[in-house]
Assembly symmetry: none
Homo-oligomer: 123 residues x 4
DNA sequence: GTGGTCTAGACCACC
DNA sequence: GTGGTCTAGACCACA
């Protein structure tokens, strides 16, 4: 797994897990890979994975069965969506709107850029 | 001045200065506050302000006259716009589109949220 | 069976067994459920039950007849009471008194909380 | 500093800090020792202290000023009391009452043991 | 086998 | 100087 350096590794792993849960690749209630497994998969120190898991457990997205491993919580996908949406609206969008105003970009232009990027991705 | 913890302080100060330049509060060619003045205004370590100035100087948005102080470059506003726009399109928007897809938010909804936030700000 | 996470599972099972002995639900001299039975009842790994039994055997609360199973010792109830009382006075109470002092709780209030919890349990 | 092995070191340090705050030894708003200072004082690895601080920050008992250090929150003492009290009532007391019933100890006897332990401590 | 804690030591960005 | 992240490796209790 490749990591951007603009964000901490353990959070990138957390995001990656969340995306897999949202996409249904990991089912709710299912057992996660063990800390050591995920560490060797991602080529990362087990402590770093441990940190990811601790974070996700705090967010109640996964939970722990002692001696067995970590499991995806029943309402994990819902929790993730709520969390991400809140983050999006409260922290991300204000900056977006500010930037749009600053750069004189309106929603039409935004949409146009979006269509272009979709075409570019389709190649 | 209040700072978000998601970004470094010196960059937040840089952004703040850029906004003031774009808004015409600080004129091109005009002398900036001194490092010490700005440090005491923003309740921040002078080194941190120094770092902001160094960054803006690298971007050629301000320039230094030795022994006198920092001055806003003649084409500062234009430079800022170009810089911000590039940053916006290349780094900000891809993440935006990804988030929108992940959270099932379309442009209509985006606009709706925007209108709401404008009302909230108007209070 | 539900387990608190503040204590190990095998000790919680041990406590549960002790309580049943004190309450006379399991008679002294009587044979215990087998490790496997208890494991499936409590939804727990047989090794964990085994650990409980080993612990209780160390305390001479139960004993083993090879090939037959575990049996409650004749003076089990007495042993448990002695053990628990010692544990209570030496390890539990000092912490209780410290907490009471720290939180400004006196015996009157303790009693009051007790009465309340009894009412709540009576529902 | 000496540590019991029945609890994790980082939590014992956290408790110790909380007690010092409650006792007024560390004032609210005051800066804490740095991670490295406290690590060398307590003869513990800096990472362990870091863990303590992270925990206390989550509990909003201390907060961080970037590049400067950790500071005691304004309502730290109140937060600690609330937290400890809740923990005491919900997790500690139920066990106490159960034990008292099991061991036939009433509040009079509890008080008597308390007075004794106070005398013993006074020596 | 599992997670959890701890140590030692490195490197980094930031103040 | 500050905290924060990461690695490597050890040890432990528990299932």
């Amino acid at each position: 797994m490749e990591f951007r350096k603009s964000q901490t590794i353990y959070m990138q792993i957390a995001d990656h897990i969340c995306e897999r849960i949202l996409a249904g690749i990991i089912q709710e209630g299912e057992r996660m890979e063990s800390v050591r497994e995920m560490a060797s998969q991602t080529q990362v120190n087990p402590n770093t994975v441990m940190r990811t898991f601790s974070f996700l457990q705090e967010q109640e997205i996964i939970f722990n069965k002692r001696g067995i491993g970590y499991f995806v919580a029943d309402d994990a996908a819902e929790k993730i969506k709520t969390m991400k949406r809140e983050e999006f609206v409260k922290e991300y969008l204000p900056e977006l709107f500010k930037m749009m105003q600053l750069l004189d970009i309106d929603f039409e232009e935004l949409k146009r850029i979006y269509e272009q990027s979709k075409k570019a991705a389709a190649k």
